[in-house]
Symmetry: D2
Subunit: 146 residues, 4 copies
């Protein structure tokens, strides 16, 4: 008898962000640096939804600074555009968190940006942790991410 | 014969700020909220010059949050404009700091913005201090500001 | 019998803003300059609700740059605080718009900031308009603001 | 006799950026999104130095939006740190610009961030240009970048 494969949907969440007037540049496009904020909005919403908030990490005596960011711009957005920012937690081993992002326009679902971030773990003195923090291992197990 | 009164020039400093591309809006003008950063640049340069840095205040067990901001916009600035941001410490009594600001274009010295900020003093728990902290009294005396 | 006087409530709207991690400073308080963005969020929501958007003004061949800002900070806000930003249009004569603002914490309705902004009108070349634009007079009449 | 190979140093420039108080987060580190501004500061300085400014591109009827950003964080920076942001133009063929970046602390020359950006070319309607704009080919030749 064939073992049923794990087909659970990936851990993800989506937030809605409305572009601010102060976020568009002189050619009326969202300045490319602002997307990092939108991505962080999604990451924090993810943390609230799945119990992996910045403060949760901190209370476990860790910090999770961003180590690596990759962004690709597919299309420009402009003032009053409503963006849907989706964040997906990638199943990875070890003392890190990797998220994938997709930003789309709410109006026509067209793709604006794809991105990924990698966070490493440090102790509260900022020293890198080589092995996976116990609370993180538990969190990953609970959500079938490792 | 009458004693000549102190006519020392006011305590002030000027910083040079170049407008960033990301700071102009869709009509190519500096977005009005960015001037608060330029003012803070001047305030921090003032602190470094006259020994009243954020960290000096903190080490004396105080914080000096901004309580009041007034800004008047006289002219717009645009990308690549170089601005001269002058900050002047107003002589005032009590547990507060009041600064006046003038922002001018370097190219023609024309006026862009006038502003003032008022900072109050709190202890490290954020509770307002009614009386003037001793280190502040000394600092004001040293600089003939009271 | 005396005719009941117009006691219509003032033209206002309220938006909900969640403080971002990137908006708090090193003492975990919202950096004081960010409130200008929150105020603009409310002003744009007001524009959408009452038909006085930035683009509406522009299509009438005017711009309405901010001329004057006054802000008073009553209390600090921190990360994840949800703020209610209320904007009220003050009835004023002539070629200007004056808005009052109140920012409160959603959790306990305590006051965080009060503010006001004044906008003047210019033509598309940026020259100040002395007399009230016709579309603005009509808009004010329609909403009993003059 | 062997022809001496071109060993000219790469086209690069370095700008000095002082971290602002408003740019550090609640754990006193520069918020990771701000580095994109520092990188743009360097890119604009590069443009001014080598005649490839935003406005030069625009006057040639092109825009050069950022298509791809990669950033790697090696160390954190904090308030009042002075950063040296070096930008290097990578020799590439075709209708694109690729820059490499290195950010170091002025105090000890330690590495803070490495990054790269890729810009593509569009016409003023925002449509992608497949072939290299003539002015860009000339600019690359002049600087021995292709």
């Amino acid at each position: 008898m064939k073992k049923k494969e794990a087909t659970h949907s990936p851990l993800s969440t989506t937030v809605r962000v409305q572009v601010r007037f102060s976020e568009v540049d002189s050619i009326n496009m969202v300045w490319h640096g602002h997307y990092i904020k939108y991505m962080e909005d999604a990451r924090e919403a993810f943390g609230r939804e799945y119990g992996l908030e910045y403060m949760t990490i901190y209370r476990n005596n860790y910090m999770a600074p961003v180590f690596d960011v990759k962004m690709r711009y597919h299309q420009t957005a402009t003032v009053d555009d409503v963006l849907l920012v989706t964040i997906i937690c990638r199943p990875v081993r070890g003392a890190k968190l990797v998220f994938d992002y997709e930003i789309r326009k709410e109006s026509d679902n067209s793709l604006v940006l794809t991105a990924e971030t990698t966070q490493l773990f440090t102790n509260l003195q900022g020293e890198l942790e080589a092995s996976c923090p116990e609370f993180l291992t538990e969190w990953k197990k609970k959500h079938q991410l490792c």
